[in-house]
Amino acid sequence: MDELFKGFARAHAEQNGYLLAATLSPISPPENPQRLRSILKSSNSSRIKGDIKHLIKSNSSHQRGLDHEEIKGWVEVYAAYWNAVGDIVAGEDGKSTWTKVYESWKELTSILIRGYNNFGFEAWTIPCLYMIGKYLRLFAIKSDAERSRNLGDNSGGASLMQDDFDPETEKQGQLRDCEQHLKRIFTLCLNDRAPLEESRKWGIYFIINLLFKTYFKLNSASLSRTILKTLSAYRGDMPPLSAFPKSQRVTFKFYEGVLFFLEENYVEAEKHLVEAWELCNKDALPNLERILTYLIPCRLLTTHVLPTKALLEPFPRLQKLFLSLAQCIRSGDLRAFDLALQEGEDEFVKRRIYLTLERGRDIALRNLLRKVFIAGGFDELKEGETTPVRRTRVPVAEFRAAICMGSGGELVDTDEVECLIANMIYKDLMKGYIARERGIVVLSKKGAFPGTGV
């Protein structure tokens, strides 16, 4: 405990928020695995507040700055922390539950927020909010998992008794509750009217990222929009995103990108994901992998490009996800594409990219039809022409043959082929028109397949 308040005093002397936040960690650091236990042992519930007050004063006596009110606030905070530590340590011994840990951590959260509202905690201490918010969410998830496990153990009776019991909502009850508290922190940071240098506004992106993670976990990603709307209403007096640490910027850009991705706004999604990719720490492979998981399908639809082996090299999981699919798209093998999509279906759906990848079939088809066009060769040079012109009148029968081949020998009838071609033209993947009565497709002399060099 003494150690803790030495840290507290040092953090205040240096005005180092991260150092201060570390004193509120619910996890013992590797170099001191007994930290939580020794904190717990060094006091008891009847004298804890007095102990804390004494330690704060004795350790910080030689410093000015901490006024009476602030000390009062911090005493409350550390008393609540001590309580929570009690539940965590009991949990390690199997004598407590995650639900209890969550409840006591929630109490700590409320008291910390009160410290900012009522006891004048300074803005440099906001990393404490990060620490508290981060673990509040993790404990909520733990508690939910624990509760649904217990529910599973004695199911039957309980669910029969409650008719209007919605297991899906209930399953994440704690996380929903947690969202409310994170939002309080969000408001606390957003509404600070202090001048920018000493404003809690600097905490906003960290908290937003926590909220994004929460909404995605709750399967209500769209609620993130509400947060973004609120944020943009305040944009004028908010520090620019570029002034924040890269870890926060990358995370924010990732979620913003994925949000656009889920809204099927691939152009915007690409912008944000590329930004996240470029800023990301080069050694953070798991995060780079997550960015690419969305950036690859995104690019497939916006610019119709595929990842190279060089890009996928450090990511075996992405290779498994995308390599065979990419190969099918490139070669225009429709049947193999369908199979590859089917094979990865579970994984694709889980990552919410199935529907986007499905649209990659158009690109596979485009490539197949393009091959027919290339195979058609060139028209004979007419008088006055110097550069050869590709044969632009292609019988529907040839396209049909190619599509039958691409579909693994399945017979596709002419009407369906015409329909597919019409769709290609409509989607601007192919330029030209179908002359039905003559059974040919007349392709544009300039860029029959836009963007592909022919």
Binding site: I27, P30, Q248, A284, V305, A375
Partner: protein
């Protein structure tokens, strides 16, 4: 966050069934973060530690066009001709088979 994230060592009996495919992810599962963006171990890093700097701003070799022109198009065009021919034959056959040879009733 400046501190390293180590998971609390509290009993974690879940996830024993699907252990096989999730081995590399076990650490995140223990933290309750299965598939979400991870916290970076450091808060900020200099520009030369970013992915963009790593690639020297040169990203062209990472993406390639989605079609394949290396494929010998001669093979494809021969195959195509053959299939066009056989489709023509089969279509003719099908049409012939489905022709209705019964005399039609005529109205006067």
């Amino acid at each position: 966050m400046a501190s390293t994230t180590t998971e609390p060592k509290v009993a974690e009996p879940e996830q024993s069934t699907s252990n096989e495919q999730q081995k590399p992810e076990q650490k995140h599962l223990a933290l309750g973060e299965d598939d979400e963006f991870e916290d970076f171990p450091i808060d900020d890093w200099p520009a030369d530690q970013t992915e963009a700097a790593q690639r020297n701003g040169e990203t062209k070799h990472l993406w390639e066009e989605s079609w394949d022109d290396d494929d010998t198009s001669d093979d494809f065009s021969n195959q195509l001709k053959w299939v066009v021919g056989s489709l023509l034959v089969s279509t003719l056959l099908l049409t012939a088979l489905s022709l209705d040879f019964r005399p039609r009733r005529r109205f006067r």
